[in-house]
């Protein structure tokens, strides 16, 4: 049973990682905790359902479609909640994104209704037995998508010229702009990438858990916050691994302790990390801002 529980945790965690990577990217590059990430995630899930139900897309096209729509939404978030806000006050953009999330949420309630909906059964889910452990095709898809996207992002940032520009902006945006990097373009690109990831995450997680409603973004974003603290602020690889770790902590605490404290364990872990190792498990130094 332990093996199945560990697998459960890994699968749950890969879902969290997918959302946390994008969240962490924005924080690393722009120093912004983008709470609208949760709203984008939720819209991504709804877009997936709409594409499958109304336009009869298959799951892969639905993921792509959702990524496209969410990229546009990410652009809107940047234009509304980031660019016009004065950066003198650290927290102003953060609060603006919280406000935007609430607007997105209310809009979703108006358009889609507040009830929980599931993905239609036309999307085939197969189950596999790997030895004593049972996994579904969606879970494998989530896991591999997380890893692929993380690796893709990692190489993009490490090897391409644009990736270099992103790293430069993350390190010191003023100097980077003096050296010719267009900060606006990099900001927009960061938001677009992060929102596309959120969109993909929304479809996959919505499909796996068969629960899409206007409030799913809030919980995800809180977990995302825990993950980036665990993994080291701004560290994308760290976010990936710590997403998996968080998933396992949650599942194991439910399996062997008590489910009522599922979220409490997640946040307790966050508190412990903040006390014992504030730079996170994978962080190298604390960012000064």
């Amino acid at each position: 049973m332990l093996l199945q529980q560990l697998t459960n945790g890994l699968m749950l965690g890969s879902g969290y990682s997918l959302v946390a990577i994008g969240f962490n990217l924005v924080f690393g590059v722009l120093g912004l905790l983008n709470f609208a990430h949760g709203g984008v995630f939720m819209i991504g899930a709804y877009v997936g359902v709409v594409l499958i139900v109304i336009f009869k897309f298959n799951i892969y096209l639905a993921i792509l479609g959702s990524m496209v729509v969410c990229s546009v939404l990410g652009l809107v978030v940047e234009l509304l909640a980031f660019r016009p806000i004065k950066k003198e006050h650290h927290l102003a953009p953060l609060i603006a994104t919280i406000g935007l999330t609430i607007i997105i949420q209310e809009a979703a309630i108006k358009v889609f209704g507040p009830e929980t909906i599931g993905f239609p059964k036309t999307v085939e889910i197969q189950n596999f037995n790997l030895g004593p452990v049972r996994i579904s095709s969606v879970q494998i898809l989530i896991f591999s998508t997380s890893i692929l996207l993380m690796m893709g992002l990692h190489f993009f940032i490490k090897l391409t010229k644009v990736g270099k520009a992103i790293r430069a902006t993350a390190e010191d945006s003023q100097t980077a702009s003096l050296l010719g990097v267009s900060i606006n373009q990099i900001t927009v690109l960061t938001f677009i990438i992060s929102s596309a990831l959120a969109g993909a995450g929304g479809v996959l997680i919505g499909l796996n858990y068969n629960s899409v409603h206007p409030f799913i973004g809030m919980n995800m974003v809180l977990k995302g916050f825990v993950i980036i603290l665990l993994g080291g602020l701004g560290n994308v690889t760290g976010a990936m691994f710590c997403g998996l770790i968080l998933g396992m902590i949650e599942v194991l605490s439910v399996a062997y302790l008590s489910s009522s404290y599922r979220d409490a364990f997640a946040f307790l872990t966050m508190l412990l990390i903040l006390v014992i190792r504030p730079s996170g498990l994978f962080g190298l130094r604390i960012h000064e801002r």
Binding site: M1, Q5, F112, E115, I117, V254, S260
Partner: protein
């Protein structure tokens, strides 16, 4: 006086007497006000939305046929968010500011626990169409009522039929630790019934409202290998619990409390919930003309771009509650004059207290001495995507 004058006076006098007697027998005022407290936002929002649609249908039907005692019905709705703290504010507003005759709601047992004593204090009838944890009304006589059935009444016959149908000897209970009704079902209602029928309870597991991942709990249950599993909680989580169980290869039978007996369970659970049992007093597919007319109106009115859904028990019972109150107002000659507010509210209280065999769309409804509904109950099972009765 001249003869003409005399006749005129007699004529005016008779007219005045007729008018006066008319006025005392008829409901006066611009509108008859009923209050409603619904969870329009928050986790119970779909319950609130469904009840809102049902109230709108009732109001339109009643006003189309002349209103209550020929005065239009007005339903004042406030959002209690499913939150006991907000529920208190709403009850006060409806009673003291809107001055309604009756409050329909709240939906959750958690809210009832705090507003029922308040209703007694404020002396206003409050009727929950959904709360089902045993004992809540009994503790708070005489103003609160529940036009629902408490879990023990519904689940005893349901569990018995479930055990016989699936030949169950051992069971596991999984419930929502955050929800007052689920907790009451899992800890107070199910165990005595199971013990009565000789079933061994292997374990109690929990989750919390809003959980989407049940893999840990299901793996645990799979390990215990019970014959059957009882769920206490709302239909969204119940459907996903069954789904996860089927995904992990479990074939066991499931049964859930009355709150799982809704179209949501089937919509989210699909093929996985075939054979799911429940006990309820609201059978949507009941072949009754008025019920089916209501269901059709409801589905037409409630469409969003993705889901056009069937009513749940809250919608059906709140619809009945409006009609019950209408009949009480007319029969007890409620006057609707501002000075008579207290007396009118008492008349409504007495009407509900003595309610016997009212022909609602749920069937015959009676209020027992604890203020809880008594009447027909059904044991239902999901078959081919619908709830059907179990013989």
């Amino acid at each position: 006086m001249s003869k003409r004058c005399y006749l005129l006076t007699i004529f005016l006098f008779v007219t005045w007497i007729l008018h006066a007697s008319f006025a005392t027998a008829q409901v006066s005022g611009r509108s008859v006000k009923m209050g409603a407290m619904l969870p329009l936002t928050g986790g119970m929002a779909s319950w609130g939305k469904n009840q809102q649609i049902a109230l709108e249908i009732a109001r339109e039907e009643i006003n189309a046929s002349g209103g209550i005692g020929r005065v239009p019905l007005e339903i004042v709705t406030y959002d209690s968010q499913g939150d006991p703290k907000e529920a208190i504010n709403v009850v006060k507003k409806l009673t003291q500011i809107e001055k309604v005759f009756i409050i329909l709601g709240p939906t959750t047992t958690s809210e009832c626990e705090v507003v029922f004593p308040l209703a007694n204090q404020l002396k206003i009838v409050i009727v929950s169409p959904t709360s089902a944890a045993p004992g809540i009304s009994g503790k708070n006589r005489p103003w609160p009522f529940r036009n629902s059935r408490t879990s023990d009444k519904k689940m005893d016959p349901a569990i018995k039929k479930w055990i016989d149908y699936y030949k169950i000897k051992t069971a596991v209970i999984i419930y929502d630790a955050k929800d007052a009704l689920a907790k009451s079902e899992a800890t107070l209602v199910y165990p005595p019934i199971l013990i009565k029928y000789g079933i061994k309870i292997l374990d109690n597991l929990t989750y919390v409202t809003g959980d989407i991942d049940f893999s840990a709990q299901i793996t645990k249950i799979n390990h215990l290998s019970p014959d059957g599993i009882l769920i206490g909680g709302n239909p969204v989580e119940a459907a996903n619990i069954v789904r996860e169980a089927r995904r992990q290869g479990m074939k066991q039978a499931f049964i859930g409390g009355g709150s799982t007996c809704t179209a949501d369970l089937i919509r989210l659970g699909g093929k996985d919930v075939e054979g799911f049992f429940s006990g309820t007093h609201v059978w949507i597919e009941r072949p009754d003309a008025r019920m089916q007319k209501f269901v059709k109106n409801f589905m037409d009115k409630g469409k969003t771009i993705l889901a056009g859904q069937k009513p749940d028990s809250g919608a059906v019972c709140i619809y009945d509650s409006v009609y019950i109150t209408k009949e009480i107002i007319e029969k007890a000659k409620v006057t609707n004059r501002p000075d008579d507010l207290e007396k009118d509210r008492e008349k409504i209280r007495d009407g509900w207290t003595n309610l016997t065999d009212f022909p609602g769309i749920t069937g015959l409804t009676t209020m027992d001495k604890f203020g809880d509904g008594a009447g027909d109950n059904y044991v239902l099972m999901v078959k081919n995507g619908e709830f059907v009765t179990v013989k």
